[in-house]
Structures are given as structure tokens and as C-alpha cells.
Amino acid sequence: MRPAVVVTGISGNLGRTLARLLHRHERIIGIDRRPFEGKPKDVEMFQLDLRGRRAEDVFRRNEIRAVIHMGIMHDPRMNEEEHHSFNVVGTTRILGYAARYGVKKVVMLSSANAYGPSPDNSNFLTEDAPLMAASRFSQVRDLIEVDMLAHGFFWRHPDIQTVILRPVHIVGPNIKNAPSNYLRLRHPWVLAGFDPMVQLIHVEDAARAMIEALRPEAKGVYNVVGPGEVPLSAIWRELGRASIPFPHLLARPLLDILFKYRLASFPPPELDHIQFLCAVDGSRWVKDVGWRPRYSMRETIRSVLDE
């Protein structure tokens, strides 16, 4: 049998999109705790936890040519200890198996949000900018840690091509992450007087980027930018929504209460994303793999409303 590509977190929206794009060209082995609904027939699926012993069997029994690691979650409602363990232990295990079983390529999904929005940010952060997101939003520290784990792995295993992708906000139909949920609000609130430039990428473009990373030219850390950047206000105009301006000094304490009593799904530190810049420079990725997103900015914005 031909060598396979292991895809962790395959049952999520991004994972399913990636599987649909890739399964005709590669032998895919999917790993996820969740079932894969609408799985293409030729995808071999293992419904298990990366931290368990059975995950290693997948590597022991198959020849694996590459790992695409997306089995990382971000759910602010989740128990922090479990959240941290799933992400950090899961990533440690998968990197360990890759090294032990001679995998030649590891592609890991991180996020441009790891830099964190801040009034001190330059307009375009490059890959060497410090990952500061946890300084104002401590619950995301495991997301930074997994990025750093992969970073360490990259240096310790020069024989393995490790690629860390830091895409901008991933949006799309049915995507349930914070940016997509926010853009689906019928009566969106914004912070009065703040209108930062925002970068979005369509989920299918993000999946294509993960696939591009399998190419031999891709090595190291990359910011992945979609069709560009627009002011937040232009997004609301495009979606035909009238935004409700809210004073930023009141927004934080109010959202704090709403979040605590489960009346809002956004943790207060995420307000930083609609107040300050967290935009990245994706030119290294463009240069190394000739990256071009398929979806235009308008299509990307409107995709959140699609079914």
C-alpha cells in the first residue's frame, strides 16, 4: 500500500474540507475523537484520542509519509485542564510518533492569533515577532505552547521537514470559531471609534494552504494570509449589517458578566481583536510556495452567511 498522510482533527470543519480536497490524490488516515460525518469512502478513519495508546498503533501499522496536525482545540467554555492536556499532550505525542516512525513531513496548524492583538503591534507582523497572545488572554497559552513545541521539533529534527502554518482568522459556512460566529451576529456590536484592519481566510483556502505545505519547498514557520485586509466596518457594510457602537471602557466589564452567566459566547479578551491590530505579513509563504488564495475578499466575507 502506498504511504499515507495522517490527518489529526479530521472531523472538524477544516479537517473535512481538507479531506475532500486531498483524498483523490493521497491516501489519508484520519484521527479524531469525533465521528467523521460524510467521510469519503477512501479515507481510513480512526476514532480515538491522540493521547491514548491506540494512536501509536496507527503509526506502527502503516507507512506514514506525512502528518497534518490539526487536532488542536480552542473552546473557552471547556475545562482548562482538559483543554491544555488535549492540546499539549496530544501535540507532544504526535510529534514523538512522527520522529519515531520515520515520518518525513510534519505540517502543524497554528494561528496568526498567537501574536495577539495589541496597540503596540506593527501593521504587519512577520514570523519572527514574539507570540504575545497569552499576555492579555491567558486561556490561549496552550495554543502558543503547541506552536513552540512544533518550533522546537523543527530545530531538533533537521531531517524532518516541519512546517508551522499561522493562518489569519479562518471563516466559512458552518465554521463555529469566534470570528465566524461574530460575523454572523444579526445586530453586531463594535467598539465605538475602533475600526482595525482585519484579515480573513476562507476555510477552503486554509485547507489548501495545509495541503500546499506538503510540498518540499515549504519548511519552517509561515504566516498565511487570505485575500488581504479590510477595516472591520467594511466587513459589516459588505454583510449589510448595521453595527452598534459600544464604548470600549464599558464593553469589557459588561461582556465579562455576560460571559460568566453564559449570555454571550465571547470571552472578554477577544474584544482586543475588534479594537487593535493583529495583522500579519504573509510574503514568505507567497514566495516559497507561490501562494494565491482562490476566494476574493468579498467571497470570503460573504461565506460566513452560506449554509
Binding site: 496597540p119 503596540d120 503591534n121 506593527s122 501593521n123 504587519f124 512577520t126 467598539l191 465605538a192 471609534g193 475602533f194 475600526d195 482595525p196 484592519m197 488581504g228 485586509e229 479590510v230 477595516p231 467594511a234 457594510r237 459588505e238 448595521a242 464604548p247 470600549h248 487593535f276 491590530l277 476574493s296 475578499m297 468579498r298
Partner: protein
């Protein structure tokens, strides 16, 4: 509703700018290099239409209030350039006047970017206004990126030390930061010295109320004859010097850079001294 009011206001302001600058404006805008997307903004958030509207009050100040005169504006080179100017007047109107001059009077019209303090990003409305008007947070990365894109950047190496000077120190250049010289060397950018005369007299500061500034979190609080620093209609004269090019290592020790910075500072000081000698009246 609010949006429509905003749109109408923007159109009205833009018409005001057009009426003050005249027919010439359209031709000038055509010449400005533009890099905007389908939403009318460039990657930094600069929106030329917004800027032309937002400029209106400053164009009025330029034409009617300060009656700005420019000298040798044709010396500003095409391509990347660092405009280095003295800074004064309690409110940074000198920057705005240089920006208006280069868009409306320069033979090769330029959209000048100036570098703003990081704390501006924390201010509602001001942060958005600055971004749409093409003003960028002054990090070295931002500056480098813009220069490599052949843009014109305005810097005030004195920073708030110059802006908040008291009356006794007028037209005496304060300490220059070295950052602009490192960027100029690194990106091989010519420096265009600029001397602004008249801004010192717009709001003479009798004292800097440091304890009050500390309480308010402002860099300084001037005590002016008008209590708050409302500008007086002094006449602005803006002198542009010959571009200066420097060579050397950008990561050299401060002492080496100091020499080069001193040369720029001396040039601007002599431009100031000559301009002051030629001036016959503060308000005329």
C-alpha cells in the same frame, strides 16, 4: 442612519477640500501612487477619499489661517524619502501643514505618512482617523516597510520634547532621536530636511504643567495665554532643504550615528536661523 450621515459629511468635506484646492486637485491625485483594494483602503488602512475629506479643515488652516508659504518644495525627491522636521507649537499642526503642502503644492504630489505614537492606537476615533488618513504607528518595522514601498515619511526626531517646548526655547532644536538615521542607512533613504517657522508662535507656552500632565497621562500640559493651546494665526513658512544622503552601517554605535544626526540637526538649525532672519513679522 448614522452611516448615511457619515457618508454625507464625508462628501461635503471633500467638496470643501476641492473648492479650496481648486481644479488642480484631481490631476494631483491622479499622480499619487495608489495601492487600494476594492474596499477603497490600502493594506495599512489608508483611504484616500476619507483623507481628502478629513483634510478639509487642515486645508482651510493652511490657506486661510496660517497662510502657509513654502520654499524650495521642488527639492523633495521622488521615491523613498524621510522628511525630517523641527517640531513645535504644542499641537502637532506643523505635521499637518507639511502633509497638505506636499499634496497640494509639490510639483510631484506626495501622500506623506507620518509616524504616530503607539498610545494613539488606544484612543477611540483618533486611532481610526489616523489610520484612514494614512498615519501609521511609528514602529521601525512599519517605517522600513513603507520606505521599501518608496513612500514619503515625515519624522520629528525631537518628538514631544520639541512639541511641548516653552517660549524661552523657541527655535532651539531639542535632542534628536537616532532611530530615523538607522532606518535611513538601512533602507538607503535620502533625508529631506524641513524647517517650519511660525508654529512656535501659534501657542506660546509659558510653562509645562508637569504634575497635571502626570495626572492626565499626557506627555506635557502647556500653560498658554489662551489657557488651552488654541493656535494663534501666525504665518507659517516651510523651508525644504537639499536632500542629504548618508552611508554607513545601520547597526553602528550610537556615537557614530550621533555625528550623522548632528549634521542633519545643524542643517535644519541653519535653515531655521536663515528663515527667522528673513521674516519681518510673525503674523504677516
Amino acid at each position: 442612519m448614522l452611516e448615511q450621515v457619515g457618508d454625507e459629511l464625508q462628501k461635503a468635506l471633500r467638496r470643501w477640500t476641492e473648492s479650496m484646492v481648486g481644479e488642480d486637485l484631481h490631476g494631483r491625485i491622479e499622480q499619487v501612487a495608489r495601492n487600494e483594494n476594492e474596499f477603497g483602503v490600502d493594506p495599512f488602512g489608508f483611504d484616500l477619499n476619507y483623507a481628502l475629506a478629513a483634510m478639509a479643515p487642515f486645508v482651510w488652516l493652511y490657506k486661510q489661517y496660517f497662510r502657509v508659504q513654502t520654499f524650495n518644495i521642488d527639492r523633495v525627491p521622488a521615491g523613498r524619502v524621510l522628511l525630517v522636521s523641527n517640531h513645535s507649537g504644542q499641537l502637532p499642526l506643523d505635521g499637518a501643514m507639511i502633509v497638505v503642502a506636499l499634496l497640494t503644492e509639490a510639483p510631484r504630489p506626495r501622500v506623506v505618512r507620518s509616524m504616530v505614537e503607539k498610545w494613539v492606537q488606544t484612543l477611540p476615533y483618533v486611532s481610526t482617523f489616523m489610520a484612514r488618513a494614512g498615519q501609521i504607528v511609528g514602529t521601525p518595522e512599519n517605517c522600513r516597510r513603507l520606505l521599501e514601498a518608496e513612500e514619503a515619511i515625515l519624522v520629528f526626531p525631537e518628538g514631544v520634547r520639541g512639541l511641548g517646548k516653552t517660549w524661552g526655547q523657541r527655535y532651539q532644536l531639542q535632542d534628536f532621536g537616532l532611530g530615523f538615521m538607522r532606518l535611513a542607512l538601512e533602507t538607503k533613504t535620502p533625508i529631506a530636511p524641513v524647517a517650519v517657522i511660525g508654529a512656535e508662535e501659534q501657542a506660546p507656552s509659558l510653562a509645562n504643567l508637569k504634575p497635571l500632565a502626570k495626572i492626565l497621562g499626557f506627555p506635557f500640559v502647556p500653560l498658554t495665554p489662551t489657557v488651552i493651546p488654541l493656535p494663534l494665526p501666525s504665518r507659517y513658512r516651510i523651508y525644504f532643504g537639499e536632500p542629504m544622503t548618508f552611508s554607513g552601517r545601520a547597526d553602528d554605535e550610537d556615537a557614530e550615528l550621533d555625528k550623522k544626526v548632528a549634521a542633519v540637526k545643524a542643517t535644519i538649525q541653519s535653515m531655521l536661523d536663515e528663515g527667522l532672519k528673513a521674516r519681518t513679522h510673525v503674523f504677516r
